[in-house]
């Protein structure tokens, strides 16, 4: 939807409750909280520390975002 400046590559730095994760953005090393996007049971996909992900930040709260993709390899 529109410009894609809200999507960033980030690294998982901490596993939090309720399938949320503390992520560190690659661009400015800012830390945000991310949750898995999509309707499927999010905990079926296990994220581990140091996994690279693509995160889309919320429009009005830049400390939260949805994890759109897991980048492996």
């Amino acid at each position: 939807m529109g410009a894609h400046e809200t999507q960033f590559v980030a690294t998982v730095v901490e596993l939090l409750p309720n399938v949320t994760f503390r992520l560190e953005l690659e661009v400015n090393r800012a830390q945000v909280i991310g949750h898995a996007a999509g309707a499927q049971k999010a905990n079926f996909v296990r994220l581990r520390l140091q996994d690279k992900v693509l995160v889309e930040l919320a429009a009005h709260d830049k400390t939260r975002g949805r994890i759109l993709e897991v980048l492996r390899g």
Binding site: Q40, V45, V70
Partner: protein, 261 residues
């Protein structure tokens, strides 16, 4: 969230894909009048055991059915769309349309494919149904390019099918595939304006599976809780391939002749 696979992971999925292709081509050779769908099941199970592969279907739990699927194959005859159960009582006869769907995992990586086989001579309408469904799948595979969006795939299937006077099933969709049989995203065979429409990127793997009804798109599930049939009792066709999206275009993992682009 969508998991993008590395090249090494795609190579593993390719091995599963080749096994699925081998099983389906063996079954294609077996199908003729008088064979039961249970005979196919036995052959497929043996081939999986010999290859050291695990069936993705047998033991697959569905919340809708509240049960585990008991077979390694889905065999759906004529008006059955998908998820038909192999049975000793189901004897194939000339003119039947048999859809065979199977998925395996090798080293934890899955591949999923299906084909519809004509038993002997079939009516011209059924022949057209098979041709259109297969063409729709080919068109969809062509669209599996980085930079396109998911609905480019869905739209090309829907367009081709509707233009030929058939209809697409809306209750069942394709899916992402990888270290489990069903991953995100869902791949509908129609443009679902309420659904997500992610951009396709290298490393994504989709199981694209057009299910086409000769008559109306309506379907219902039989009392065995698995078999989906058309409401109007007319025939249905189903083709499926596992397609990886790479930088250089689609790689059909379940087609032996498709080389890594």
């Amino acid at each position: 969230m969508i998991i993008r696979k590395s090249m090494a992971e795609l190579e593993k999925m390719r091995r599963s894909g080749l096994l699925v292709a081998q099983i389906l081509s063996e079954l294609r050779g077996m199908v003729k009048e008088g064979v039961t769908t249970y005979d196919l099941e036995v052959t497929a199970e043996k081939m999986m055991q010999d290859a050291g592969a695990k069936s993705a279907f047998k033991g697959y739990y569905s919340a809708a059915a509240n049960a585990k699927f008991p077979n390694v194959l889905c065999t759906s005859v004529n008006c059955e769309i998908i998820h038909g159960m192999p049975s000793k009582k189901r004897v194939l006869k000339t003119g039947d349309l048999l859809s065979v769907d199977t998925a395996v995992s090798l080293e934890g990586y899955y591949a999923d494919s299906a084909t519809t086989i004509a038993v002997g001579a079939i009516t011209p309408e059924d022949e057209k149904l098979l041709k259109v469904t297969q063409e729709a799948l080919e068109l969809a595979i062509e669209k599996a390019q980085p930079g396109n969006r998911l609905f480019d795939i869905s739209g090309s299937v829907e367009n081709h099918v509707v233009r030929n006077g058939f209809s697409v099933v809306r209750e069942f969709v394709g899916h992402g595939i990888g270290t489990s049989m069903h991953e995100e995203p869902q791949v509908p065979n129609y443009v679902d304006r309420n659904g997500e429409n992610p951009r396709l990127k290298p490393g994504m793997v989709l199981a694209i599976e057009p299910m086409v009804n000769a008559g109306s798109p309506d379907c219902h599930v039989l009392s065995d809780k698995w078999t989906a049939v058309t409401k109007d009792g007319r025939n249905s066709a189903h083709f499926e391939h596992t397609v990886a999206i790479t930088e250089n275009g689609p790689w059909v993992l379940t087609r032996p002749s498709s080389s890594r682009p």
